[in-house]
């Protein structure tokens, strides 16, 4: 964790509302088709309706704003992902679909912002650190799930837990940012169905044959 990050204010406080307001403003600007690199701080504060000095009270620069978005979203996504990690031998395809669908739907409203976070990670080391934390958390969680499922006999024993988890978590990341961020509802449903098949067939089905 970077020492330059300010602590996230408790939800509901004025500070937190102001901060959230700026992130929402950026969400709107991205939804209009602007790219984050092209957005000026002036444009962001105009959309947020706050002063320049207030903006800089919360965010030292545009990179700090992206890190702040990760701090907001991380716990929410991790909580949705936890339901997958807790899956046991009683899981069936419908149950898996509900869990994966919830992960995708939770992430969806933030997908454009998060796509910018991941893109910025390629040149901003502090942002990259946040990305690595988030991905590390998901990969470790899925790895533990695979290992536990292999011991209990409901996950294909042949799979390498760490490497399989790494491929799958990065697949989520890329598909969510490149495809789902711009997809309509019907397309998202079809993608969730296809993902459910892929995960079911990869992890669970071979252990039932």
């Amino acid at each position: 964790m970077s020492t330059t990050d300010r602590p996230v204010p408790a939800a509901g406080t004025k500070r937190s509302r102001t901060r959230r307001g700026v992130l929402d403003a950026v969400d709107r600007l991205l939804a209009e088709g602007n790219s984050y690199t092209e957005l000026s701080v002036a444009r962001i504060i105009a959309e947020s309706g706050i002063s320049r000095s207030t903006f800089y009270t919360y965010f030292s620069d545009k990179g700090a704003l992206l890190r702040s978005a990760v701090d907001d979203l991380g716990p929410e996504v991790n909580a949705a992902g936890q339901a997958w990690q807790d899956v046991d031998a009683t899981i069936d395809r419908d149950g898996l679909r509900a869990i994966l669908g919830n992960v995708i739907r939770t992430y969806q409203p933030h997908a454009r912002m998060m796509a910018e976070v991941y893109a910025a990670g390629s040149h901003d080391p502090l942002v990259r650190e946040k990305v690595d934390e988030l991905m590390g958390h998901s990969i470790r969680g899925l790895r533990r799930h695979i290992e536990r499922g292999q011991r209990a006999g409901f996950v294909d024993r042949r799979l390498l837990p760490l490497e399989t988890a790494t491929w799958l978590v990065w697949m989520f990341e890329r598909t969510q940012h490149q495809d789902l961020a711009h997809a309509d509802d019907a397309e998202i449903d079809a993608m969730i169905d296809a993902l459910t098949d892929l995960v079911w067939d990869t992890l669970y089905a071979p252990a039932r044959r």
Partner: protein, 209 residues
């Protein structure tokens, strides 16, 4: 080269190819040395390659244009390396699939820095992004076709949704190569290759065999 043949079309093509090759080598070595694409200047490329400035600007509007030209050649080579997978015979084995993926990885490795620059630049350069999108679209289509052919001959599970599965699997491959498989040490890379094979094998073929 004699002045008699200088104006022939063949030599113009050869000169253009020579400039392209020298500039492409200069660009790849700068990227390999760790210089981010945004910091590489046309001046440096001219100096490193020995290609005269006037020649550079005869063929390329700017360095993004050069990046697009170089990557388009590499993309064709990479797509060719995908053929063993996309034309995996109906009786192809897990080992055959692993060899096909190994060939894709081997084709990606020498140019990983250039391809990474394309991915990173595509987050803010519209033309690079359009090129990259069309490469991905081509990949989606080829994978979807491969799945449909396999379903017709019984080698791919009938329940797989070809178009949507193709999107997830294409992103799995693209992100894995970019994020971790290319940078991995040898033994680690073998493990990633195994996990990649097992995921795609389970997701597409295992249930049909």
């Amino acid at each position: 080269m004699t002045s008699l043949t200088r104006s022939s079309g063949v030599n113009r093509t050869a000169r253009r190819q020579e400039a392209h090759d020298k500039l492409s080598t200069a660009l790849e070595s700068a990227l390999r040395a760790g210089t981010p694409f945004t910091r590489i200047t046309v001046d440096e490329l001219i100096e490193q390659s020995g290609v005269p400035r006037s020649t550079f600007y005869l063929y390329y509007a700017d360095k993004s244009h050069l990046l697009r030209a170089v990557s388009s050649g590499l993309s064709s080579a990479y797509l060719e390396a995908c053929e063993d997978w996309w034309h995996l015979p109906p009786d192809g084995t897990r080992e055959d699939l692993r060899r096909a993926f190994d060939r894709m990885l081997e084709s990606y490795l020498p140019h990983q820095h250039l391809l990474a620059a394309v991915i990173e630049t595509s987050s803010y350069d519209h033309e690079v992004s359009a090129d990259y999108r069309s490469l991905l679209e081509l990949h989606f289509d080829e994978v979807a076709e491969h799945i449909r052919r396999g379903q017709a001959d019984g080698s791919v599970a009938a329940h797989v949704d070809a178009d949507h599965a193709a999107r997830w699997i294409t992103h799995l491959v693209e992100r894995g190569l970019y994020e971790f498989a290319a940078d991995a040490a040898d033994d680690e890379r073998e493990r990633y290759l195994t996990a990649w094979t097992d995921i795609v094998w389970n997701a597409l073929y295992a249930a049909a065999r």
